[in-house]
């Protein structure tokens, strides 16, 4: 219709011009030159980012479940709500680790020579934040656990010296990479135990199939030595999730599917179970934590943010409909914050004036919120397919929260 109307308009104007020109045969004038300067010729450029990540930038991991070969991490500016760039991750993308200086992202990836088939290569690649280009890399044994993303399957020591990669073939072992020398150290058997929860520059805890915890240490060359093992701390019927929360240098909260909390300290090299408490109070037994990343701990305030939903056994991956906020030191809930959009992932920036982030698997949207009341500040939409885990960067100098 528009083209038809325009055509009629042009025909009318043309007729008017013919009539006018037949009356007055003045010479035709050249069109007046436009009064604005002409556009300058352009050069093609490539954007560069900052040298290190500001506190309110965020890494948004997309496992791309329907196209698992194409995992990736997006980088967004949560203050402005803008998309900044992307880092490719490969098959079964787990997430990234930040180098302690915040200048590099360490990206473990799995690739096949012919797309979805052919020789498998597992590799850690360093991407400089400045240009997001692949830099140095270390090829590791092709045994990296392929699973829904767990950041504790790819931890970095607090000083950034070693990266640990949990293997599952289904034999369980840990690959160690010297992240400073960018060399493979070796592979170490960890029978019956999985993941690595860092408890110091050279120590960590593993979770074992019988519900016990295994301590382990690294020496200065990166060799792992297994240490003490606890008695089983959790029931088979209500196991601790594989997503514990680090609340101190050597202290972690292990939280069961039903919301029972046990604090464990590995300062001595032997994991010691301390305080036990529950996320739910009387009359709240129907509520449970759930999602792919149900917990976010804000160290400066000592507050734990938990995605909670109503549901029974088997709902540990269900999205949260409320955010419950706990004072970890007092083991008390201080707020219940309903959210308008359910979420499977929650994260909080690590600065003193933080932003709270949530995302729902499959939505492609990160919601930026005020931590005090979970009110929505802004949304960043169009972020791929299947957002798994969110990662706020470290804000302090090296050795302060480099590994999640």
């Amino acid at each position: 219709m528009r083209s038809l109307r325009n055509g009629m308009l042009a025909a009318g104007l043309g007729a008017a011009f013919v009539m006018t020109s037949s009356v007055c045969a003045a010479p035709r004038k050249a069109p007046a030159a436009p009064k604005v300067p002409e556009l300058a010729a352009e050069d093609v450029t490539v954007v560069e980012l900052k040298d290190r990540m500001p506190a309110h930038w965020l890494v948004v991991n997309d496992v791309v479940f329907t196209h698992l070969l194409d995992g990736r991490a997006y980088i967004v500016d949560a203050d402005k709500g803008t998309y900044l760039g992307m880092v490719p991750g490969g098959h079964s993308h787990a997430g990234v680790q930040f180098s302690p200086d915040g200048a590099n992202l360490l990206m473990p990836g799995t690739f096949f020579a012919r797309g979805s088939r052919g020789e498998r290569t597992d590799v850690i690649t360093w991407f400089a934040l400045k240009d997001l280009m692949p830099g140095p890399e270390v090829v590791i044994p092709p045994k990296r656990m392929q699973a829904l993303p767990l950041l504790s399957s790819i931890p970095l020591t607090d000083d950034g010296r070693f990266m640990l990669i949990f293997n599952f073939t289904p034999e369980q072992s840990m690959t160690v990479v010297d992240a400073q020398a960018k060399k493979l150290v070796g592979e170490f058997e960890t029978p019956g135990c999985a993941l690595a929860h860092m408890t110091g520059a050279r120590s960590f805890m593993m979770q074992c199939a019988d519900g016990s915890l295994q301590s382990a240490t690294l020496d200065e060359s990166g060799v792992i030595t297994l240490g003490a093992t606890t008695d089983p701390l959790f029931d088979r019927d209500d196991p601790a999730t594989d997503k514990p929360v680090r609340v101190g240098n050597s202290r972690w909260l292990f939280i069961t599917f039903a919301g029972a909390v046990t604090e464990v300290d590995n300062a001595s090299g032997t994991p010691v179970a301390g305080a036990r408490w529950r996320l739910t109070g009387p009359g709240e037994q129907g509520w449970r934590p759930g999602g792919l990343q149900p917990y976010a701990f804000h160290a400066p305030s000592g507050l734990l943010y938990v995605l909670m939903h109503e549901g029974g056994p088997g709902t540990h991956k269900h999205p949260g409909t409320e955010i419950w906020v706990f004072d970890v030191a007092r083991q008390q809930r201080i707020a219940r914050l309903p959210i308008e959009t359910p979420a499977t992932a929650i994260e909080i920036s690590k600065d003193a004036d933080p932003l709270l982030y949530t995302a729902l698997f499959g939505s492609g949207t990160v919601v930026v919120r005020k931590p005090a009341d979970a009110s929505v500040l802004r949304k960043i939409e169009g972020l791929g397919n299947d957002i798994s885990v969110l990662q706020a960067p470290p804000v302090a100098a090296p050795a302060a929260g480099a590994a999640k």
Binding site: S92, R120, A209
Partner: protein, 173 residues
């Protein structure tokens, strides 16, 4: 309008082809040729296709639905929707030889069965009928009952995950 014109032209040409005498003779010739060629081939080359194994007689429900009883602990793409069935991998994929187990109650007979959730492997994710129910599923450090893991381990084709089976292996009780 141009799109309608092209569609009309396509329909007209298709109708002309399917109704012309030359078209009929052409198809007859093709049939005769194919029949003759088939009879000349060795038997081993004309073996029948291998169909997906359907659900058993004493079962109820739709295996293309996430609500189907065998899927009580599954997390992934249902092979029933991907060219296979609850116990057959789609063509060109390889079943994982090791896997994790769940226990589901068959509503048709009231019995609990051990279900083996083998993955079918070697191709990119099917992407159809994503189903996550997680009943009895455990964290990855208890792998024999964990459904967050890619179980395409020990296959010849590699760990690329395509879809999930739900195979009855026997009674749980």
């Amino acid at each position: 309008m141009r799109r309608f014109d092209r569609a009309a032209e396509y329909l007209a040409r298709t109708a002309a082809r399917s109704t012309s005498r030359r078209g009929f003779i052409g198809r007859l010739g093709a049939f005769v040729t194919a029949t003759g060629a088939a009879t000349l081939l060795p038997v081993s080359r004309v073996r029948a296709e291998k169909a997906a194994v359907p659900i058993q007689v004493h079962e109820e429900g739709d295996p293309n639905s996430c609500d189907y009883w065998r899927y009580c602990a599954v997390d992934g793409f249902l092979c029933s929707c991907c060219g296979g069935s609850a116990s057959s991998c789609p063509p060109g994929t390889e079943p994982s030889p090791i896997t994790w187990l769940g226990t589901c109650r068959n509503p048709a007979d009231g019995r609990n069965y051990v279900i083996s959730y083998n993955d079918c492997c070697g191709k990119a994710a099917c992407g159809r009928c994503n189903c996550s129910r997680d009943e009895g599923a455990t964290p990855v450090y208890q792998p024999s009952t964990a459904n967050d893991l890619d179980w395409c381990l020990g296959t010849q084709v590699g760990v690329a995950y395509h879809c999930s089976l739900s195979v009855v292996t026997g009674l749980a009780d």
